[in-house]
């Protein structure tokens, strides 16, 4: 039972990490290696607004979402757009930006254990004899809501449809009059907002530390690869796969194998079925 509860929580957390990354990759084929940095950055922005500026929690959250979204869009508009399509340059450039953000934060004094965000609702409850705090339950609920909203957004709004069109066939989308660069900027903005959302939901569980940026990035990549790069729903399903696999390893093997499991999942997936469990590419295409 505890496996079920905490497995679900862990999986939702992984899904939240990964959604933003998956969205950006899906739309513009950009592996955004600054994703982890944006995650951490938004945590610190919220903290600053809450503690240094004294804004109410909800206002800080909304502002953080907006600011992170704008930062993400600006990173794309001013930097990444110039190396678009050059895969290695994209990775190096976005990784370098992420590095600059993270290390800049560290230099700016954001280090140690002093930075925490308050939980939305404090306290805990018992589910079938297992104590779970409200914040974790909230994470699951909001995580589910995010997935639902995202689905509605991409199926029923103009921007969402345009994004989905880009994801499926960029050239065709361009012929239909969709501005591919603009859409990529929008996607990057939304992806960053998703990273911020994940941060705001998950960081109250612990504290805001720079190191988390690197871990979030690796986990996001792991989830996206297992789920099939660029497939959002695949990422959600893969999050559950890896999430439960991790919890099961902790219970039956030992926590030190947690990361090994994530990495092994990636290697295994890539060797056996490179397009991921839910990827849409054809077998022939990726191997030849």
């Amino acid at each position: 039972m505890d496996i079920l509860i905490y497995g679900t929580i862990n999986s939702v957390a992984l899904a939240l990490y990964a959604l933003g990354f998956a969205m950006v990759y899906g739309v513009s084929r950009l592996p955004n290696f600054a994703h982890g940095a944006l995650y951490v950055l938004s945590g610190f922005i919220t903290w600053t607004m809450l503690n240094s500026l004294g804004l109410p929690y909800i206002v800080s959250i909304v502002l953080t979402l907006i600011i992170t979204g704008i930062i993400g869009a600006m990173i794309y508009q001013f930097v990444l757009i110039r190396v678009r399509g050059m895969e290695i340059s994209e990775i190096i450039a976005s990784y370098a930006i992420g590095l600059a953000i993270l290390e800049g934060l560290r230099w700016g004094g954001f280090r140690g254990v002093n930075y925490t965000l308050p939980a939305f609702i404090a306290g805990s409850t018992n589910i079938a004899g297992i104590s779970v705090d409200y914040q974790r339950l909230l994470v699951v609920a909001i995580g589910a809501a995010v997935v639902a909203v995202l689905w509605l957004f991409t199926h029923y709004t103009r921007i969402g449809l345009a994004l989905r069109g880009m994801a499926q066939d960029e050239r065709a989308a361009m012929m239909l009059g969709i501005d591919s660069d603009l859409m990529a900027v929008v996607a990057m903005g939304f992806g960053s907002m998703l990273a911020a959302l994940a941060a705001i939901l998950l960081l109250p569980l612990g504290n805001v530390v720079v190191e988390a940026g690197y871990n979030v990035l690796i986990l996001a990549i792991a989830v996206c690869i297992v789920g099939g790069l660029g497939s959002w729903m695949g990422a959600v399903l893969a999050a559950f796969l890896i999430g439960f696999a991790q919890i099961l390893t902790v219970v039956y093997l030992g926590a030190q194998y947690q990361m090994v499991v994530a990495i092994f999942a990636i290697i295994l997936t890539l060797i056996l079925k490179p397009s991921g469990i839910f990827g849409q590419q054809k077998e022939l295409e990726e191997r030849v």
């Binding site: 895969e87 600059a100 191997r287």
Partner: protein, 338 residues
């Protein structure tokens, strides 16, 4: 009304025979030096670099640069002449380093034996382990190869073999300063020109064929995986060589040999130096590593500057310094009116 003249830049090849491909004769000393000058500058420059730097510390920085340069060279070779984007530089370093450490401390080989041993056997080990992934291509191979070093480190850690997280201590160092400075430099130059020669041979052509159109290679009765594994062997031998040298310089080996930096930095150097030029990545290392050392004085801020410089290079010289330099050398530009 003001008359606006429109101008554009014209690029013209320098009119020297040696620029044309195929058969040619060198007509004069001028043309000979045109060809030889860049190569000479590189070789002589690298060789006298340790002499110019009086400081022991900067000599060491150069040696470390050489280590990264090996990795950058192997990355560029695999990525642009075979089509395998390998992020597994750290994997090569780790395997090479551990093999040298084991050969030295467990079996008592001296350094001049462990380094070739680690390079040759390490190359074979890496090739063998990467073999199942060779049919993959593009970003898929990249990510798998990125996972290998992470995985290896975890395995050594979890199984607690080869000294576990403490690493292996008490490895022999180089006996001679001169050897320590020049062995990596010399080997790097040899590797650089050997690879340059290799990619223009018929075998090199086949490797490029593997990159451009592996279907046609198959249809010509050649085993693509075989050629890929030969190429991986060549590249990983260089990587393992650098790992072995590193281990002997610091007389220590540990799981941090699988650290991500060994995968990332050479690629950054390749992007800066100009991919596909082979010399570019090496030069990129000779720019990036010293910059990183210069920035040490900034403490934690160092990485921020470093990252920003990297981004700057990528944005403003996205083709790479070497490509840009070659163009400037072989062509001249002038403004023309239209």
């Amino acid at each position: 009304m003001a008359i606006t003249t429109q101008r554009r830049k014209e690029r013209i090849d320098r009119g020297i025979n040696v620029r044309t491909e195929g058969i040619y004769a060198l007509m004069s000393i001028k043309e000979l030096s045109y060809l030889a000058a860049p190569r000479l500058v590189l070789i002589v420059g690298l060789l006298i670099l340790p002499l110019l730097l009086p400081d022991m510390y900067w000599k060491r920085v150069i040696t470390i640069t050489c280590i990264y340069a090996f990795l950058a060279l192997s990355f560029d070779f695999l990525a642009h002449f075979v089509g395998l984007v390998s992020l597994g530089g750290a994997f090569f370093v780790g395997i090479g380093g551990y093999l040298a450490a084991i050969a030295n401390t467990y079996w008592g080989f001296p350094p001049w034996l462990t380094i070739p041993f680690a390079a040759l056997v390490g190359g074979a080990v890496c090739t063998l382990l990467l073999f199942p992934c060779l049919p993959l291509r593009g970003v898929y191979f990249a990510i798998v190869s990125l996972m290998y070093p992470l995985f290896s480190a975890r395995v050594i850690e979890a199984l607690d073999i080869f000294g576990g997280t403490d690493g292996i201590m008490g490895i022999d160092g180089f006996s001679n300063h001169f050897v320590e400075e020049y062995a990596p430099l010399g080997l790097l130059l040899i590797a650089l020109f050997a690879i340059r020669r290799l990619v223009t041979t018929d075998f090199g052509l086949v490797l490029r064929g593997v990159k451009d159109n592996d279907q046609a290679i198959r249809a010509s009765g050649m085993n693509v995986t075989f050629y890929k594994s030969v190429a991986v062997y060549i590249a990983s031998t260089m990587g393992c060589l650098s790992g072995a040298i590193l281990v002997h310089i610091y007389m220590w080996s540990g799981i941090s040999l699988f650290a991500l930096d060994f995968s990332i930095l050479p690629i950054a150097a390749t992007v800066i130096g100009g991919s596909g030029t082979l010399i570019g990545p090496v030069l990129g290392c000779f720019i990036l590593v010293p910059i990183s050392e210069l920035l040490r004085d900034f403490g934690t801020l160092r990485i921020v500057f470093y990252a920003l410089i990297l981004v700057g290079f990528i944005i403003f010289r996205s083709e790479g310094l070497m490509v840009w330099g070659q163009r400037k050398y072989h062509q001249f530009e002038r403004w023309t009116q239209i």
